[in-house]
């Protein structure tokens, strides 16, 4: 496989991994959202003693929604990237076939020169565009990472608040542990995706 095709194929593979990672994060964010909703109801039942826990749960719910929206935006950009990459792969394949034809021609040797040149120019444009899209994706992944780190801090606060939950303490503690586990599950997935995109820059 030629250099540009190889790079584009690697880009495509990265996007495939990214899409799989997005699916994972969306599922976890959905769970956090659901948990946060239950936690809000639980805090309401507990009354004054769990006011702080209720506030934190609302924050976590907002965080889960933000994360989901961010993942949807990532998905849309990943889709654009796939389009760009597939166009590049197709064009590059054509360019190579045209170049092969050119190299075998003995008469009318200039017949394909202009076409090959415009293909190469278009390829260079696409390569720049794909690189830009990769950076956009990476930026959004970094945002998601920051949201998760904020989520980890909030879930820690939830654990502290749970300790002051009186008779609801045990239930609140279970909920806050679930929060913590879920939010911690997202980070490694995001790290892998960030590293993948960074490595192939």
């Amino acid at each position: 496989m030629k250099k540009h095709q190889k790079n584009a194929a690697e880009d495509l593979l990265d996007i495939v991994h990214l899409n799989e990672g997005i699916k994972q994060v969306v599922v976890i964010a959905f769970h956090i959202n659901l948990m946060a909703l239950n936690a809000i109801l639980l805090a309401n039942r507990a009354g004054k003693i769990a006011l702080g826990f209720g506030v934190i749960s609302k924050e976590l719910r907002v965080l889960a929604v933000e994360l989901t929206q961010l993942m949807h935006a990532l998905k849309a950009e990943a889709h654009d990237s796939v389009n760009c990459i597939t166009v590049l792969l197709r064009q590059e394949r054509r360019r190579l076939l045209l170049t092969a034809a050119q190299s075998q021609v003995t008469n009318h040797t200039s017949a394909l020169a202009g076409v090959i040149e415009s293909h190469a120019a278009y390829r260079d444009e696409q390569v720049v565009r794909i690189k830009h899209l990769r950076n956009e994706l990476l930026g959004k992944l970094m945002d998601a990472r920051r949201i998760c780190q904020f989520g980890i801090a909030i879930s820690r606060s939830a654990k502290i608040e749970a300790a002051y939950g009186g008779s609801f303490s045990q239930q609140l503690k279970e909920v806050s542990t679930d929060f913590d586990q879920n939010i911690h599950a997202i980070l490694p997935a995001l790290d892998v995706l960030c590293n993948t995109l960074e490595d192939n820059q």
């Binding site: 054509r94 076939l97 034809a101 190299s103 021609v105 003995t106 009318h108 076409v115």
Partner: protein
């Protein structure tokens, strides 16, 4: 590289076959392309798959200026027929491709758009090429449901697409059928499996037998000449094809 060989010439009217590429990968079916030229205008039949474009294009360049190709003709929709369309359009965006109306929405997956493809009605049509008129002969269901052939009444040549095709072994690379009985064995399996309709087959045999044909040029294998043309038509009429040839399990 493929060889370009003139098989008919009368003034500025000619037929050229592009065939037999010794460097072709064995896993790709061998194809024949034909250039029909009248004056400054050339039509290319079944340009072939994208993988063989370099071989076809370079062979064409040895005999004509490729910009002289004004139109392509796709007998049907298969990849070995027309998947190089995108490459041809890269080279010359003005090219038009004639094909059965059935495939005008399918072939753009290989390249081109609604302006590129000109749908041929089911009953066929007459194509003008320079001062020449070429007849489009319907051959539906042999094997494609929208299948067309070309008949040049001046050169008395029928471009028959997949009808008459033979899957020849590597050591058999003759351009013309020299021994009908031996050659037809390379065609038998192909016709039994690829041609699905006995009704369509007999209808085609009847119509084509009425044409004055000196040469029958298939898209795979060797060219039938003279008496071998009618020999082929008779052989094909008798041949059990399609489901008749499947063993009941």
């Amino acid at each position: 590289m493929k060889q370009a060989k003139t098989i008919f010439q009368q003034g500025n009217h000619s037929w050229t076959i592009i065939a037999r590429d010794p460097s072709k990968f064995g896993y790709i079916i061998d194809t024949n392309e034909y250039l029909i030229t009248s004056g400054n205008d050339t039509l290319l039949t079944d340009p072939g798959g994208s993988e063989i474009f370099p071989a076809v294009f370079s062979a064409i360049c040895t005999v004509i200026d490729p910009l002289g190709i004004k139109a392509l003709f796709a007998s049907h929709q298969d990849p070995d027929i027309i998947s190089s369309l995108g490459l041809w359009l890269d080279f010359n965006p003005k090219l038009r491709c004639y094909t059965s109306r059935l495939w005008t929405g399918f072939i753009p997956h290989f390249g081109g758009d609604d302006k590129t493809l000109i749908g041929i009605p089911d009953e066929g049509m007459t194509l003008s090429l320079g001062e020449l008129s070429v007849e489009v002969v319907p051959a539906h269901y042999l094997h494609s449901s929208g299948n067309m052939q070309l008949y040049d009444p001046v050169a008395k040549i029928l471009f028959s697409g997949d009808v008459g095709a033979a899957l020849m072994p590597d050591d058999q690379n003759e351009m013309y059928v020299s021994n009908f009985d031996r050659h037809i064995e390379f065609a038998r399996g192909f016709h039994q499996r690829w041609m699905g309709s006995a009704e369509a087959k007999l209808d085609w045999c009847e119509r084509v037998a009425a044409l004055d044909i000196d040469m029958m040029c298939p898209q795979h294998g060797a060219i039938y000449q003279g008496a071998d043309v009618m020999r082929f038509i008779n052989w094909f009429a008798e041949l059990p094809i399609g489901l008749q040839t499947f063993k009941k399990k």
